[in-house]
């Protein structure tokens, strides 16, 4: 079966701590490889704040996996992720074959102050026109 390019972002319970989250990430990686997929990149984003509480937690460790797998293998990977108590959430997305690999990201928050500079004023003026 033709394998496809996927990407899965996993949210790990903050009680795991930094070393614990790495361990969970390693476990997920071996899980993926057991399913015959080739992991091309693992990105650890570290402990980040959540926009809302999940399982009464305000923070969580994000880990991004880039890999190739068959659709069947993906189903099996997702089934196993659901069974892991330390995994709060995950999202799998199929990537286009020629899309560039995920760029490394600036760790943690704090860059959010500049947000809206590019778009904020523009949107405002647009909605003004709408009202008249």
């Amino acid at each position: 079966m033709a394998d496809r390019r996927y990407e899965t972002l996993v949210l790990i319970h903050p009680d795991q701590g930094e070393p614990g989250s790495k361990e969970v990430a390693a476990r997920i990686r071996t899980l993926m490889e057991e399913q015959g997929s080739t992991v091309s990149q693992v990105q650890e984003w570290g402990l980040r704040e959540l926009q809302f509480t999940i399982a009464r937690q305000r923070r969580g460790f994000y880990v991004l996996f880039e890999y190739r797998a068959t659709p069947k293998a993906l189903l099996e990977i997702e089934r196993n992720l659901k069974l892991m108590d330390t995994v709060l959430r995950f999202v799998s997305v199929r990537q286009s074959e020629h899309a560039p690999p995920a760029a490394p990201r600036a760790p943690r928050r704090g860059e959010h102050e500049e947000e809206g500079l590019e778009a904020g004023p523009e949107l405002e003026s647009v909605s003004e026109g709408e009202g008249s």
């Binding site: 972002l9 959430r89 999202v91 947000e115 647009v126 909605s127 026109g129 709408e130 008249s132």
Partner: protein
């Protein structure tokens, strides 16, 4: 003699009704990609309350608005964007 315009001053007279024609920002700037991980970009298309701003307001084309909404929803699943913002 040209038709008299209401004296508003400052620059070109504002078009009535329609306002400025909006252009899809993702079409205008091809380097701007829709990615559920990029909360900076996605955040621009959320209202203060965390709701998705309709394409009617932002001027996004249908194709990009479609991709944008799925990306926002994926980001929400991962708690990177709010479903609803807290009361101010």
């Amino acid at each position: 003699m040209p038709r008299e315009r209401p004296q508003g001053g400052r620059g070109a007279p504002r078009r009535r009704g329609m306002g400025r024609r909006k252009v899809c920002r993702f079409c205008a700037d091809k380097t701007m990609l829709i990615d559920y991980k990029d909360t900076r970009v996605l955040g621009n298309f959320l209202s203060e309350r965390g709701k998705i701003i309709p394409a009617r307001i932002t001027g996004n084309c249908a194709r990009h608005q479609r991709r944008l909404t799925t990306a926002i929803k994926q980001a929400r699943t991962m708690a990177m964007l709010p479903y609803a913002a807290a009361y101010p």
